[in-house]
């Protein structure tokens, strides 16, 4: 309550039109982890439909597949069959662009043990390689297009993972971020070394081919104050780089939170009206990023 009051007063004077000098092209990525839960799935479907009505664009739903042990466990608890899950993804694909979202494990049976999850500082190539291969196979077998797009958690990205993804056909990535909240040892060092600014797309060369990297700006902006977006994004931006392109992200489970949907749509409307932000779908986002990419960099 006090926080809200402070914001209400503060935003009357601060961060007003702070992004007006910037041209913004934005996409929206959902880390789609729990659509085995019917209420999450229905909320996500509803959001995607409303999002399309407002923006004329589709959000990106980066999916954890049913081969991921955490999803498998959720399906078991919610009594959702493999076919039913695939059916939900097919329905989702009518309103969103599907991508791939990875959580990787040392041993799939031990996924509840926190140390079993592979992160940037305990990376094990063989385990990740095996899991990506299996999950990509699932997309193929279900005839679901992943659009060659990968949106991971911030906790895991490195040159090895990029090479594994590229080897499996993924050539668009949404993991890099200038936000310290999404800090990753590898991506942070790489962007620093090559003077990558917030909102600047770039291409990384892996030993298996090129990957277009579109930055993830900040997390979901589901608060009642759209100015939160201005405040958070402006703290990342470089005044010398004004045509920014990137995505914001949320989890499908965030939609269960009270007011998230309305607040998010309100924020997007605000960005469109106040800053003339272009909120675009996957194809447009990637096309724009590739057109603007000036830096082609080694991934390692």
């Amino acid at each position: 309550m006090i926080n809200d009051l402070i914001k209400q007063i503060g935003y009357r004077f601060l961060f007003k039109n702070v992004l007006k000098e910037y041209g913004m092209t934005l996409g929206y990525v959902f880390h789609t982890e729990e659509i085995f839960d019917k209420s999450v799935f229905e909320s996500l479907m509803h959001f995607c439909q409303e999002y399309r009505k407002l923006t004329n664009a589709r959000p990106i739903c980066a999916l954890m597949t049913p081969l991921n042990p955490r999803v498998r466990e959720g399906m078991r608890i919610h009594n959702v069959s493999m076919d039913e899950f695939a059916g939900r993804v097919q329905l989702l694909a009518e309103h969103a662009s599907i991508g791939y979202h990875g959580h990787f494990w040392f041993h799939s049976d031990e996924f509840k043990n926190g140390t079993a999850e592979i992160r940037c500082t305990n990376f094990l190539r063989s385990a990740v390689e095996a899991q990506v291969g299996e999950e990509v196979q699932w997309f193929k077998s279900m005839n679901i297009r992943h659009n060659n797009v990968y949106a991971p958690g911030w906790w895991l990205m490195n040159a090895e993972l990029l090479a594994i993804l590229r080897c499996n056909g993924f050539d668009v990535d949404f993991s890099f971020s200038k936000s310290l909240w999404f800090y990753n040892a590898y991506s942070h060092a790489l962007m620093k070394r090559h003077y990558i600014r917030a909102g600047e797309p770039f291409v990384l060369k892996t030993r298996r081919g090129d990957v277009t990297c579109i930055q993830n700006f900040i997390g979901c902006h589901g608060t009642a104050f759209p100015q939160d977006f201005d405040r958070n994004l402006s703290s990342l931006l470089d005044p010398d780089y004004r045509e920014i392109i990137g995505v914001v992200n949320a989890h499908d489970t965030d939609l269960i939170g009270q007011g998230f949907l309305d607040n998010t749509l309100n924020c997007l409307r605000y960005l469109q009206e106040r800053y003339n932000a272009a909120i675009v779908g996957y194809d447009e986002l990637v096309a724009q990023a590739r057109m603007r990419t000036a830096k082609i960099l080694p991934s390692a």
Binding site: N113, G114, C120, W155, F182
Partner: protein
């Protein structure tokens, strides 16, 4: 005197009994039942732990354990071994231990092991470094972080965009494997704090004057986001009734710079290393914390 030096099967009941009897005499600790297995046996991706014994006729008179560790180096497993429970019967001192260790080196080299490492006691340290040519490596560094969210922040480096965190070319302790080993022995005593980062360890006690104080000894950590590390520790402090959090890392640990204000300690045993199939040097980085030790 010729000794029969050979690997031991700790799942064989007779051998288990021999080892237990022997260790109980040498260490004056209870190693009966499954204590040895719980303390030292790891199922590795490569090979399990190795147990070597020296027999004089039918009597076990020398013993050494090598805990199998799947260390991670640049995204690959490097199976390496921690030497521990080095022991010779008081009536059989001499070259028996050197012979036993040399035989173990042969076996481990054939297994493709990276290196042998350990923290021997003061009494056996010279045998390792002089007699067995182990390299004496650095000591650890210790941080005692007060269990108060008001002041604990002073023990963390303020993270900013200019700073970097690297694990390149560092041997990482395998926290997944270690936690399984420690949990099978200590059960719920091992605590895991998990948010953006992960810290695991156990609550220990220390007598200070008339008081017995509880502190949290960190066994290992997986730091994904150094910016939020102090929040992870704040969560640890909130969730446990402790007086301080003790963090001990090997001197070369690539995340040592995340902490501030180390305190000197005279109690550290230095890490010793013997290369088998991997070449290490005084500049090699070992991301080792207390949890990797057999005695933790």
């Amino acid at each position: 005197m010729g000794y029969d030096i050979r690997p031991l099967d700790i799942f064989n009941s007779q051998t288990k009994e021999d080892i237990s009897r022997f260790l109980n005499v040498v260490f004056e600790q209870d190693f009966s039942g499954d204590e040895l297995r719980l303390k030292t046996y790891t199922e590795s991706k490569a090979f399990p732990s190795l147990y070597m014994g020296a027999y004089d006729d039918d009597e076990l008179v020398g013993f050494n354990c090598f805990i199998s560790h799947d260390l991670i180096y640049n995204g690959e497993i490097v199976n390496s071994y921690q030497t521990c429970l080095s022991s010779v019967h008081p009536n059989h001192q001499g070259t028996i231990f050197i012979s036993l260790m040399e035989e173990a080196k042969k076996i481990l080299r054939q297994r493709g092991a990276g290196f042998i490492f350990g923290w021997p006691s003061r009494s056996s340290h010279l045998v390792y470094t002089k007699g067995l040519k182990f390299r004496d490596d650095f000591l650890g560094i210790k941080f005692n972080i007060p269990a108060s969210t008001l002041v604990s922040g002073a023990f963390f480096t303020k993270w900013s965009e200019e700073k970097e965190l690297s694990i390149d070319d560092a041997f990482l302790q395998n926290d997944f494997q270690l936690l399984q080993l420690k949990q099978q022995r200590f059960g719920d005593t091992i605590k895991v704090i998990h948010d953006e980062n992960l810290v695991w360890g156990k609550i220990r006690t220390r007598k200070v004057g008339f008081f017995t104080l509880k502190y949290f000894s960190v066994g290992g950590m997986i730091v994904s986001n150094p910016y939020l590390l102090r929040n992870t520790f704040a969560k640890l402090i909130r969730e446990h009734a402790i007086t301080w959090v003790q963090v001990i890392l090997h001197h070369s640990h690539t995340m040592a710079h995340l902490f501030k204000n180390p305190i000197p300690s005279r109690c550290f045993e230095p890490l010793i290393v013997f290369d088998l199939n991997v070449r290490t040097s005084g500049r090699t980085r070992f991301n080792f914390m207390e949890g990797v030790k057999d005695v933790y």
